[in-house]
Amino acid sequence: MMRSRRIILFFVSMTALLIGWQMLVNFGNFPRFILPSPGDVLKRFFEVVQDGSLMRHIATTLKEVISGLALGVSFATVLGYLIAKSRSIERLLAPYIVASQSVPLVAIAPLLVIWFGPGLISKVLIAALIVFFPVLVNTVVGVRAVPEDLHALMRSLQATRWQTLRMLEIPAALPVFFGGLRVGATLAVIGAVVGEFVGADSGLGFLINVGRGLYDTALVFVAVFVLISIALILYGLVVGLEVRLLAWQRRAED
């Protein structure tokens, strides 16, 4: 019931958006290289699908996004756990982590491309960097929020460190952790595209750059829409995983 209504609402809003867009093109008299019509974009989409180039660019960007996300999440989780457990590690690392967040990623991206070349590695690192912070913060908050009495319970049972991690800390921190992962998943897409803007020979960010250079505005639109879809699908996957793993929580939200 709720689900079908959501889908209907989505289609209504999409249709309204497309009609508005088409009307803007018709009445505004914009040239195609300024604002292509939905039909132009769709046509361009099928062209790049047919010649196989879109798939190649999608594959490149996806590889960067997934690897960057995996790398960023792994590092952030491990470091976040250590920071949550040890005040001295926190005091040691916190200034650097906060400082790193005040430098805009677009300023670091060229450096990484210079150091690691225009290939996969530099993009993965940029994506990982942008994913890192929200996941780290949520890991720290999640692990610190584990109730003290449950820790006391585990201690009274003489649980080992590993048992406490597995039976208490991970499940207890998971809800907050997933908040960070949701944000991280969409940020990873941004990170990969930023990297591709700076220097790349394939990928959706590269495709946007090409389209801009040729005034092939329809192609830019195609790349942007594909990027939005990737981010949405990734977000959906994270939410899906969250719903599965945190079934015990769902009742509270309804």
Binding site: P147, A152, S156, L157, M167, P171, R251
Partner: protein, 261 residues
Amino acid sequence: MNLLKSEPILSVQNLSAVFSDGNGDLQALDELSFSVQRQEFVCVIGPSGCGKSTLLRILGGLLQPTRGSVTFRGELLTGPRRGVGFVFQNSNLMPWRSVFDNICLPLEVQNASVSEIGSRVQELVDLVGLDGFENWLPRDLSGGMAQRVAIARALVHDPDVLLLDEPFGALDALTREQMGDELLRVAMHASGDGIPRKTIIMVTHAISEAIFLADRVLVLSPRPGTIRMDVPIDLPRPRQEQMRYTQKFGDLAKRLREAIG
């Protein structure tokens, strides 16, 4: 009666606990000494903030005393021990675990085999009357049911000693009395179910609850907590509901109330 018994299972000598917070030191307990016999049910009562919970945590090995010592089964207590079950103020269940999985936690920590866990947990589920609720999550349980789960969890690994920290404090008066009966049935007189009688130390601030349940009541003074009175409760067992309304019960209540001050 106590004279016949051998050495105490738990003995506390000159126990003091001092905590330092930001504003200096806070003395929670001051020079406590007492001992608990095997299979004895001792209640500790006192005004709030008198260090009752601190005392219980020290007995459970969760906190270290500043001075003095605790001897458990003839050995100096230095940390948590197997053979002790802990019931906390709130039910303290893991919200992501079902009733069954919460109860089996202690066995899981002890790496018991799956078959052993299955039968033992089912035994406890039946004992505390939660048959049919095995797959429920804590959020769907009432306060009384959740506390039953907590008691089952504390008993599942068959400890000799049960430490209860105001276990029924969050329950309404009626449920509270019921749970007291339950506790006696489950932990003290359940030999028919194959569970040996436990040694129980319970912190509470309810005088009538203490009298109804315990063999002995220790009254703590306001902070820093010292033992103000050690009152044997010579009501016959099994305890019955109507005992609550006898002259003797009333006299004991009056004595304890005056001792708390």
